[in-house]
Amino acid sequence: MKKTLSIGLPLALVLLSVGFYQAIYVAPTEATMGQIQRIFYYHFPSAIMALLFPYINFIASLVFLATRNSNPPRAQAADALALASAEMTLIFCSIGLATGMLWARPVWGIWWTWDERLTSFLMLWLIYVSYLLLRRFTAGGQTQTLAAVLSIFAAIDVPIVYMSIRWWRTQHPSPVIGGGANSGLDPSMWPAVWWNLAGWFVWGVMLVTLRYQLERKRQRAQQESVLQALAAN
């Protein structure tokens, strides 16, 4: 864990500091939205990470489901990764929702609306809230299996979130990046996007790694206490 911190933390802080400088001081003020558009440099990377990390959770959950009987040690490691990435997804999802609402109020005139993009993204947030509640409050030996099944629903929701602004008419703008002819960023805005994408990615990977290591320690401690209890009998 010390190694993760000593490499990951400085790297994340440097990237995020450059990202902050680029987003707030270097990137030009946007023509129609003004200063508030700078929130894009935080809204977009968080939202992208909120669509990326569910797949770490999904793959880890599949590994857990496939190996839970045949290879329990591997299944436990996969489950620790699934838990760590689920928590990280919820953080990114929350930042995406919060920055989106703060941005919507001044430029759309509303905090929230039930269009396909906002609704499907809220669903993703709710799925991970219920995932973590499920892990914490269910008793018995089925918790990990049930959680792994729930992660499949998140994996189904992610493509819907991504495609929602392409499939349907939404309040949310159609894709700015990778959109059609009448979309895109001015070249002077790209550095702020790249630095923040890199920064939030490294930050996320570092936290997932730390959380994974912590969960492994907890698993080992629990195993030991079970063994000790058995030996005492």
Binding site: P28, G34, I36, P106, V107, G109, Q171, M189
Partner: protein, 147 residues
């Protein structure tokens, strides 16, 4: 319990759940076709247009905005079609609501041919450009109320 019967049960449950989600999604999208209608769709809806609470999209015709306190009257344009909108909500429209901006009016279409909106929302473009030099960048943070 046999391993096989568990597998079949899980498969049946998965098919039922995924099938229900797909059914709801498809019928939901068909019934309430979309988040907003275009002016052309509104005008070709016939009688149904007058009885439903709708959201209409269009561009604000330059120079058409007449503000009256928090209320406003303006014209939405979309591919040559025009729609007169009377906005009588309690909140002033957002700062981004101005000439040529994409806007959404939420309310009822009246038989007088005027759309009576209780909410006006701006819709942002997907193209971000820097403010031109010399042009004073807008201060969105103020959220000033037009008086």
């Amino acid at each position: 319990m046999h391993k096989n019967s568990v597998g079949i049960r899980v498969a049946v449950a998965a098919v039922v759940i995924v099938g229900t989600i797909l059914y709801l999604a498809v019928t939901g999208v068909r019934a309430n076709k979309s988040y907003y209608v275009t002016i052309q769709e509104l005008q070709s809806m016939g009688n149904r247009a007058y009885t439903r609470h709708l959201r209409v999209a269009g561009n604000v015709e330059p120079g058409s905005i007449q503000r009256d306190g928090a209320h406003a009257q303006f014209v939405l344009v979309e591919q040559g079609r025009k729609l007169e909108v009377k906005y009588t909500g309690s909140d002033p429209p957002p700062d981004t609501f101005k000439d040529n901006a994409q806007a959404l009016a939420v309310g009822m279409y009246g038989r007088d041919g005027v759309f009576h909106a209780t909410q006006v929302q701006a819709k942002c473009a997907s193209k971000y450009a820097p403010a031109k030099p010399g042009e004073k960048p807008r201060q969105t943070a103020s959220m000033a109320q037009p008086r």
